[in-house]
């Protein structure tokens, strides 16, 4: 039963992906600027014949509907085409940059949850106290500040003024690290490489905090309001009437219920973290998918942009599905 429902959801994703594919295909081509012109502009003097050759190679000489057909046909075979600018299959490029993006997203999420869940819980328990007010003002700040601004301020303070943390990249030049998963922190732990561990951690702190702060703010608010809701329920009175100490009433009986709505938000935010980090990756020179797609947009690298957008769509849909599956685990009432 459960399996069938999950399958149904996966099948439902197909028309959505198709729609996204068509939209991004036309959006790219509606954007002013021609990929070949941009490439040639960089290369300097080139002959007409060379330009025609390039167009031919990229299939840009074919009518639009043929181009669309070729793109969709490729998608069916999980072939996202070849990047104009890098001359490599888009799939390869995504695989290459994905670990960096995932690592950053994981750390951002970890930072967000470690801060947000306790803050939300304490705010609710101490509703209207100064802790609550302070935390909610902080989260309002976190939601409303654009994260590139936060990133720049963080760089100014921790890198420029205090000279504590690096501002660019994932690892310092000259630090050796064996690549196993591509998640540098993980790899350095597995290989017992202390130098690399410290170095990669130093690199990831600022981008992760900048990226995670908005999520922390949102999750803290959701957690607080669902805790407030839960604390009013009869089963909380029962837990107290059983003689449970207050900390157990909160951490066991209330938090597990309050997590249910929070999980949805966290899951969707995970999609945002994986897909919405172009600015942070650009600011911190983080070699992930986000920075790659920004460059691809400037170069009008159609296949690369299309491929990454398809990948983002895939991540969003998967994140949603995973949220729903986790939901059935924590909330026994829901059977998907």
């Amino acid at each position: 039963m459960k399996g069938i429902k999950i399958l149904e959801r996966i099948l439902l994703a197909i028309p959505i992906m198709l729609g996204i594919a068509i939209i991004i295909f036309f959006f790219m081509r509606l954007t002013p600027g021609d990929p070949v012109d941009i490439m040639m502009g960089k290369a300097g003097m080139v002959s007409k014949a060379e330009i025609a050759n390039l167009r031919k190679e990229f299939n840009l000489d074919k009518p639009l509907h043929i181009q669309l057909f070729l793109f969709l046909k490729g998608l069916l075979k999980f072939d996202l085409g070849k990047s104009f600018t890098k001359g490599m299959p888009v799939m390869e490029l995504i695989k290459e940059t994905l670990p960096a993006t995932i690592e950053l997203a994981l750390f951002a999420m970890m930072f967000a949850l470690i801060i947000a869940i306790p803050v939300g819980v304490i705010s609710a328990v101490k509703q209207n106290s100064w802790i609550d007010r302070f935390a909610m003002a902080g989260s309002f700040f976190g939601i409303s500040m654009p994260h590139f601004w936060l990133a720049i301020v963080a760089i100014l303070i921790f890198s420029v003024k205090l000279n504590l943390l690096p501002t660019q990249g994932r690892i310092s030049y000259g630090v050796e690290l064996a690549h196993i998963t591509g998640l540098y922190v993980f790899d350095s732990i597995v290989t017992g490489n202390l130098e690399a561990l410290i170095d990669t951690l130093k690199h990831i702190i600022l981008p992760a905090v900048s990226l995670g702060s908005a999520m922390a703010a949102i999750v803290a608010r959701v957690m607080r309001s669902s805790m407030l809701e839960v604390l009013r329920q009869d089963y909380i009175v029962l837990a107290r009437a059983k003689g449970l100490p207050e900390w157990l009433v909160i951490t066991k009986h209330a938090v597990k219920n309050a997590l249910i709505p929070t999980i949805t938000v966290v899951g969707l935010q995970m999609g945002v973290l994986l897909g919405g980090n172009m600015i942070i990756e650009t600011v911190f020179g983080w070699p992930g998918i986000g920075r790659m797609v920004v460059n691809a947009i400037f170069a009008r690298d159609y296949p690369l942009v299309q491929g990454v957008v398809m990948f983002y769509a895939f991540v969003y849909i998967t994140a949603n599905l995973i949220v729903d599956i986790i939901y059935t685990v924590v909330n026994p009432k829901i059977q998907l």
Binding site: D234, A241, K242, N257
Partner: protein, 331 residues
Amino acid sequence: MLQIRNLTSVFPTDSGMIKAVNGVDFHLKQGQIVGLVGESGCGKSATMLSILRLLPHPGKIIQGEVLFEGEDLLKKPLSEMRKIRGRKISMIFQDPMTTLNPVFKVGEQIRESMVIHGFFKKDGWNGFDFFRRRRKRKEIDKVISLMEEVGIPSADLRYYDYPHQFSGGMQQRALIAIALACNPRVILADEPTTALDVTIQAQILDLLRRINEEHGTGIILVTHDLGVAAEFCHEIAVMYAGRIVERSKTDDIIEDPKHPYTQGLLKSIPRIVKHKQKLYVIPGSVPDLLQMPPGCAFAPRCVYAIKKCKEKNVPLTEIEEGRYVRCINYI
């Protein structure tokens, strides 16, 4: 065994103080069932919650004593209070559907009550626990036998169910099992059957009576149904707008109600009769707890009310041995 004296609890609200419990006096003797009867909103639940000091925010107790085994619960530190809740005095709630925690297995919720009060003694060395599994198995077996005792069929399977897989009646049985878990001295049963249909009601009440008889557990049975109270209770206290208006042995109240409100309640119990008979309804409505009349709270609805009733409030007075009435006509 449990004596409540002059208990007064309020809910401060924006529009004023709501005196939900207003100088309530009554007691529960060892092994008895006492009925607390009154209309919706008269403060029955607030009284029960005050006894365990579980009034929801912003409610608070401003006066009175709750004497249990000779000690005033209202003066105890909270840590002491926790050892009494669920261990010596437990509570059964009005709405079983919302009282069990939806995310934990029913059996685990019952087991938790026992564990929290150290009902399962760890024997000897307490360090690394080699026998954890076996001990847990024992605990589960004990919970299952308790579930059987309160009439949950195939308890060994039901242990692992979640609350939403239980019917309302079964949920209430599970809650009774939670209340019984540590074999308490007193059970506060707050309208345990209001949310259930009639046949289930009778079963649950029978179960409570059996518990009372077999374990000698004292029960305060809160109900809005005087008929139910008459059938099950040794004594009845009638509550109106936060006050006890009459209190005595069940037979006395049923055969010879003194307070006009009790008389009205008694007349309005529906009976199965052949002829069409209009149900008696007490005229008027419950007073707003924010604007209580200065005199007797029932005076505006009372057919015997005289001028003095609306001016002066009389205390609960013993008019005969063991009969207490709060009415000027008997003083």
